[in-house]
Symmetry: C2
Subunit: 207 residues, 2 copies
């Protein structure tokens, strides 16, 4: 299969969100034009994005809402459950743990890890906080597919190295540092500081 651009995948997520809304409202078909308007893009872009994966529409009519959402869920890997571990039981870990959208979409948070004696053994929004020392042995038996780094910048690369050694291939990083991993490990970053700097840049440099 041809390599798919990250931007395409992001848009598929956006389309899926609208499709789910349309499903709830009982709509049966939708046009690329409508999806584009909602998603802030163009109808040609929508059709091109979908065309990488197949033909889901009917000419003259549009896309069947249930069919297309089902197809997108499959494409995005939402047709199964994913086991997720969170490293870092601080505020960000807590915000993640309580977010209902994750479980709804099949992301099952199996545990949180921390090194702070105060936190170990307690629960984070119903999720067990375990000693980071147990990390490797737990992973070996529970085999989660996704790890979330929710600790400060300083220890993040070291934690990522440990994650990589366990064989986990997908990591979501909330620490405000650029991390390095082998090519077969996908690392996505959420960096609030960087986004804010994008805003102050825009405010500063506009005509």
């Amino acid at each position: 299969m041809k390599r798919i651009a990250e931007s395409t995948v992001r848009r598929l997520s956006i389309y899926l969100r609208f499709l789910e809304e349309f499903e709830d409202r009982g709509l049966t078909t939708v046009s690329s034009e409508e999806l584009a308007r909602r998603g802030g893009t163009t109808s040609a872009q929508v059709r091109k994005d979908l065309s990488f994966f197949g033909s889901f529409g009917k000419r003259g009519l549009g896309y069947s809402v249930p069919e297309l959402s089902s197809a997108l869920r499959d494409i995005l890997g939402l047709g199964r459950e994913w086991r997720v571990v969170i490293i870092g039981a601080g505020k960000i870990g807590a915000a993640l743990a309580q977010y209902r959208g994750f479980r709804q979409r099949g992301y099952n948070i199996v545990a949180a890890y921390d090194s702070n004696r105060e936190k170990i053994g307690r629960s984070l929004e119903g999720i067990e906080i375990r000693d980071m020392a147990r990390f490797e042995s737990d992973i070996a038996t529970e085999r989660p597919e996704i790890a979330v780094i929710a600790i400060p910048a300083e220890g993040a690369q070291e934690v990522l190295d440990r994650i990589v050694r366990t064989g986990i291939k997908a990591v979501l990083n909330f620490a405000p540092v650029q991390l390095h991993a082998p090519a077969d490990v996908t690392v996505r970053a959420v960096n609030m500081a960087m986004e804010l700097e994008g805003l102050s840049f825009a405010l500063t440099n506009r005509e």
Copy 2:
């Protein structure tokens, strides 16, 4: 001035982070090659990124660490203080409010807003939680430059419309929806659900 790509601005943030680290370690010069290695890019990319804004280096030597960090801080608008309001005093709002990196870089959180009677009047990590009903009148007197949306998806577009009407031109959105704003308002989105879907996509569709 020529339009600068968002990807360029993101990289500038990354470079600045390393430069600050180098400053702390007392290093005086750095090459584009070194910055590239740390930032996960190429030296040509680093030089091209910087060249949009001027010539900061010395041929044969590299860049002066203090000079380049100062230049990047100016470019990214970090040479002044920005007033920020957070809308939504939930878990995400709390995670933001306690994050020390913001104040360090000149983002001053002036207040948080919520509609929940329970929360109004309390404090979020030392920041006053105010009634959302006061929003417009407060903005008119305090004139913050940046608003952060940290509420669930449902009310987010409506809140953005209110923000836009106050004249605020920069918004950071944590709600998992695509929002629409006039072209002169910069909206950056942080969408954890979308990032996770990027990961499950990568796990599902790889050879």
